[in-house]
């Protein structure tokens, strides 16, 4: 990476992080809403642990994987809305008049998602453990959970950037949020895949990549070290990141029509 590109990425990342930290309205809902759902689900669905084959006696531990995914979905909205605002206000035109490179813009914008992902992951994990969840993989497992959460948050954030660049509208980006949430509900969010009895739901959840991301978190929380589940989780996060970056880069070329 050239010195100029490093400077561009660094400066835009700094701006993205400052923006994120200066908008409590972005951070607070992304922390509170998933933790609220965790409290409701772990209280209401705790009897599910008595199902034969349920992997743990603590539904809280099982459900703790879900906030990491919900947090990643918030990054779609936050990263996308910030960029859409830059387009709407003309700030992107200001940047386009500098020798800025597209890669620097996208990487810099995602820096805010990294910080948000980090804050979210540490908070969810800390609150979960304080509430009594188990962490079978110990402290190294906690580090891997945070790493996976940040990767997933950034990966989903690229879809927010793509939507913003395609539409140029904050409202359009926000309308994506429920669509992404459907993916979460059609996954192994509430039950392990092998305990889902309804045929169509089992088929959809089995095909849904979110189920395997959840399995990666749960492997560390419930079992310890399942390298296969972890590798699949990281591979899916990397694949989502690659697809999202490709789509966002293509959309950026169309959006930045400078000659």
């Amino acid at each position: 990476m050239s010195a100029a590109l490093r400077t561009q990425v660094g400066q835009l990342a700094r701006r993205s992080v400052l923006r994120t930290l200066r908008q409590p309205a972005q951070i607070v809902p992304a922390l509170v809403f998933p933790l609220f759902l965790l409290a409701v689900n772990s209280g209401g669905l705790k009897d599910a642990t008595s199902l034969p084959g349920f992997p743990t006696s603590s539904y809280l531990t099982f459900a703790l994987a879900v906030p990491f995914m919900q947090g990643a979905l918030f990054s779609v909205m936050n990263a996308g809305t910030d960029l859409a605002r830059d387009i709407e206000t003309g700030f992107l035109n200001r940047l386009a008049l500098t020798p800025l490179r597209g890669a620097a813009l996208l990487s810099g914008l995602l820096a805010g998602a990294v910080v948000l992902g980090l804050i979210q992951a540490v908070t969810y994990l800390a609150v979960g453990l304080i509430a009594g969840a188990e962490l079978a993989a110990g402290v190294p497992g906690a580090v891997v959970i945070v790493a996976l959460a940040v990767t997933t948050t950034v990966a989903f954030g690229t879809f927010g950037l793509f939507a913003a660049l395609r539409t140029g509208s904050g409202e359009a980006v926000q309308s994506l949020f429920p669509v992404f949430f459907v993916f979460l509900f059609l996954s192994s969010m509430a039950l392990p895949l092998d305990l889902i009895q309804t045929g169509w739901f089992h088929a959809v959840a089995s095909a849904n990549p979110v189920s395997y991301l959840l399995a990666a978190y749960r492997s560390l929380l419930i079992e310890g070290w399942d390298l296969g589940a972890l590798a699949l989780g990281f591979a899916i996060a990397a694949a989502v990141l690659a697809v999202g970056m490709f789509a966002a880069s293509a959309a950026l070329k169309t959006r930045l029509v400078r000659t």
Partner: protein, 338 residues
Amino acid sequence: MADESRERAGIEVEGLVREFKNGPRAVDGIDLRVAPGEIYGFLGPNGAGKSTTVLMLTTLLPPTAGTARVGGFDIVGEGGRVRGAIGAALQEAALDPLLTGREHMRLQTALHGLPKAERSERSTELLARVGLSEAADRKVGGYSGGMKRRLDLALALVHRPRILFLDEPTTGLDIQSRTALWDEVARLASAEGVTVFLTTQYLEEADALADRVGIIDHGRIVAEGTPAELKAEIGRPTVEAVPRDPGDQDRVARALRPFGEETRASHRTGASVRLEGGESQLADVVRALDAERIAIEQLQLHAPSLDDVFLAKTGRSLEGAGEEEAEAGSEEMEALRA
């Protein structure tokens, strides 16, 4: 073109056209030349094609046809070099409300590749020049419209551009902020030799600042020249006298008649003529009225304005045209955003 020639190059535009899909022909074959160090005022109502022209000349919008060289570089083939030579404050003061003025400067100086040691010094210097030193560490969300425009100007200057594009820089500003911005733009041109391409819908702005003015309407340049030349094309000034006693209206008209053709007075009891000998006849007019012993309540000299020029060239007033074409302008911006 040799580097030395480029250093002295301004703006050259030939047959520039921009058409939008399913939309209007926003710019319809314009030709213009702006000399280095000149302030060129691009005057027209909303939707006339001013902003579209600026977007093309700043490389943010490809032209449909025609050519343009800015700072000696072709806007299509050498976009990167054009951007290196220009600074621009576009129509909306595009600022991040969550960042401070100094943080904006830091970002802009870094993205323009200024050496790290120079960034802080340049930022401080420009913030002081636009009068934002005290507000530099406050978030821009709390700035007034005038402060935002001044920061916008400072940001456009960080890399010492030879050519500056200002798209309606004073729209919505109070008189004080407007005058401060005019002073700085005039200083940039006179003291630093910066070429300024300024779009405006304010007649007095073009009149006060521009060395030459181009009037654009429906995407075409309908008149071009110095403000004085354009006004001279329209004709001589008029003088209107309003007697203290309304019964003296005919006597006033008779006293004024030798000075030129009678024109329509704006005041109900006044009389008005076009001064065939120009403004220098005003003293003779006063003497003539005094000789007739007519008590005068108001005496007004009306010099031709750029609005008169616009009226003569397009058949309507610039003020009215602005409202009429605002809708067209918003359609144009929508097309740009799409």
